[in-house]
């Protein structure tokens, strides 16, 4: 038996889950919404951003995607709302607001 973690869900039976909880593919954490318990949310102010790239390595959750040398909007599926990015941005290009659902 070999099931991909990406094929498992909360309806999967004990016969369907992988042997010994093994995970047979990389980067499965991308599939899991771990941003749901965020209480504060960073807001990207694109116009103020100078693309200095300081926020990117500071994010403990790799939640600031970079494409072609430029940062993009936040990955809110994984951002925990810690606020570090907003603190380190030298150009006030990140707002930090309360999460409202």
């Amino acid at each position: 038996m070999k099931t991909k973690a990406s094929e498992l869900n909360e309806q999967s039976t004990w016969q369907e889950v992988t042997t010994g909880a093994e995970i047979y593919e990389p980067a499965t954490s991308l599939l899991v919404n771990t941003g749901e318990w965020r209480t504060m949310r960073p807001v990207f102010l694109k116009d103020k951003c100078k693309q200095c790239m300081l926020c990117v390595p500071f994010c403990p959750d790799s939640s600031i995607p970079v494409k072609d040398g430029k940062r993009e909007d936040f990955d809110l599926m994984h951002c925990k709302g810690c606020g570090i990015c907003a603190k380190v941005c030298p150009f006030d290009a990140i707002d930090f607001v309360e999460e409202v659902k």
Binding site: K2, L8, W14, V17, G20, E22, T28
Partner: protein, 395 residues
């Protein structure tokens, strides 16, 4: 042709290891299992086995080493006793739930309080719910044979296995033994070829992930199934072993059970003493029998119940207390397995042999005597008993 030798149980395990030639041994010394890594590391040093011997600073690390090696795709072994096994506790569960077939020689010794280095089964019995297979031996020959069978059992079942023997009694007692030729052992255990392992580069793998509540129970149920599925695997390996050596193994051995009226169930070396008592009582015309349990995990509930129900009263012997106020671990499981039978024997528990306390032929005589009294009066009395302990009431 088998090779005749005379060896201690520890030497026999070390020789089995040399013949199996596992990829990795992670070990830390503790009495009475110390000799196993000692002998085996000298074999490695002499170039007789190509095994990575990892000398660690504790049993926790010894089991961690085996876990890592096994997850990486290696065949991993270790040996321990008593407090060493207790110190592995956390990892025992991790290894079993990750379904890693680590093979461990357990030389049974009492757990501390008061500190004691002699034999009883409190160490491995304490680990009975950790998800490891457990096989016990009466003699040095069985220790050797069980260790060799353990490798294919564990790997086919994808479960870790404890190969248990009685500390000092078989581990240090020297007796005659038939060894199997190296090439035959190698052929019997084969190469270890897991389907998935960490070092398989074409197949990225993660072992031991977080199991959230919506998934944890499914993994546990699957683990429970693996114990059930291990039953036929154990018998298949035993049959293959019998074809190679002529020596027969099963979940348990029945001794003089066919027409027995009363019987005794025990684990390990005490069975030898018990059989001597059976022989003498048989010579006096008493119909007594004995069941020696070899496989405790998985517990052979149904076949054992069938064997026990041949008699009218059975004494179930525990070399470990569980402080449950309702008897030892073997008693509780063996007695519970009788519950569904219509015609069941009386089942009495005897706690014996703790911390190296000797059990003698005379003690077994007394037990069989008790059983005959029970069937005569049709009254089991107190079913939770001790034998071999000094008691002011009986002075």
């Amino acid at each position: 042709m088998a090779i005749r030798d005379r060896l201690s149980g520890n030497e026999a395990v070390a020789i089995a290891m040399r013949q199996i030639e596992p990829d990795v041994m992670g070990a830390f010394p503790i009495t009475p299992s110390t000799e196993i890594p000692e002998y085996f590391s000298s074999f490695i040093a002499d170039g007789l086995a190509d095994t990575e011997f990892i000398a660690v600073e504790s049993e926790h690390s010894a089991m961690s080493t085996c876990m890592g090696a096994s997850a990486a795709g290696a065949r991993a072994v270790t040996a321990t006793s008593s407090a060493g096994l207790a110190y592995m506790w956390e990892l025992l569960y991790v290894v079993a739930s990750a379904r890693l077939p680590v093979t461990m020689a357990v030389v049974n010794r009492a757990l501390t309080g008061p500190i004691n280095i002699n034999n009883d089964h409190s160490d491995s019995m304490g680990a009975r719910d950790s998800g490891w297979l457990q096989i016990y031996a009466e003699t040095n020959q069985e220790v050797y044979d069980n260790f060799i069978q353990a490798i294919p059992i564990a790997e086919a079942a994808r479960l870790p296995i404890m190969v248990c023997q009685d500390g000092f009694i078989t581990s240090h007692g020297v007796s005659n033994i038939d060894l199997i030729e190296d090439e035959k052992v190698k052929g019997f255990v084969g190469e270890y070829r897991p389907e998935n392992y960490l070092l398989k580069h074409e197949n990225p793998l993660a072992v031991g992930p977080y199991g959230t509540s919506p998934y944890y129970m499914e993994f546990k149920r699957q683990q429970a199934q693996s114990m059930k599925d291990a039953m036929p695997i154990i018998m298949d390996v035993a049959e293959r072993f019998e074809r190679m050596t002529g020596r027969k193994y099963g979940f348990f051995e029945e001794y003089m059970m066919d027409d027995a009226e009363v019987a005794l169930v025990c684990i390990g070396s005490s069975a030898g003493t018990g059989k001597e008592a059976v022989d003498r009582l048989r010579a006096e015309g008493k119909k007594v029998g004995l069941i020696k349990l070899r496989v405790f995990r998985p517990f052979p509930r149904i076949p054992l119940a069938e064997a026990m129900c041949k008699v009218k009263a059975v004494a179930i012997m525990d070399k470990a207390e569980s402080f449950s106020n309702s008897g030892g671990p073997l008693f509780n499981e063996a007695r519970s397995s009788l519950y569904d039978l219509k015609d069941k024997p009386y089942a009495i528990n005897y706690i014996y042999g703790l911390g190296g306390r000797d059990i003698r032929v005379e003690d077994f005589y007394d037990i069989y005597q008790d059983l005959f009294v029970i069937i005569e009066h049709d009254d089991p009395g107190d079913v939770y008993r001790y034998i071999g302990v000094r008691d002011s009431r009986f002075r």
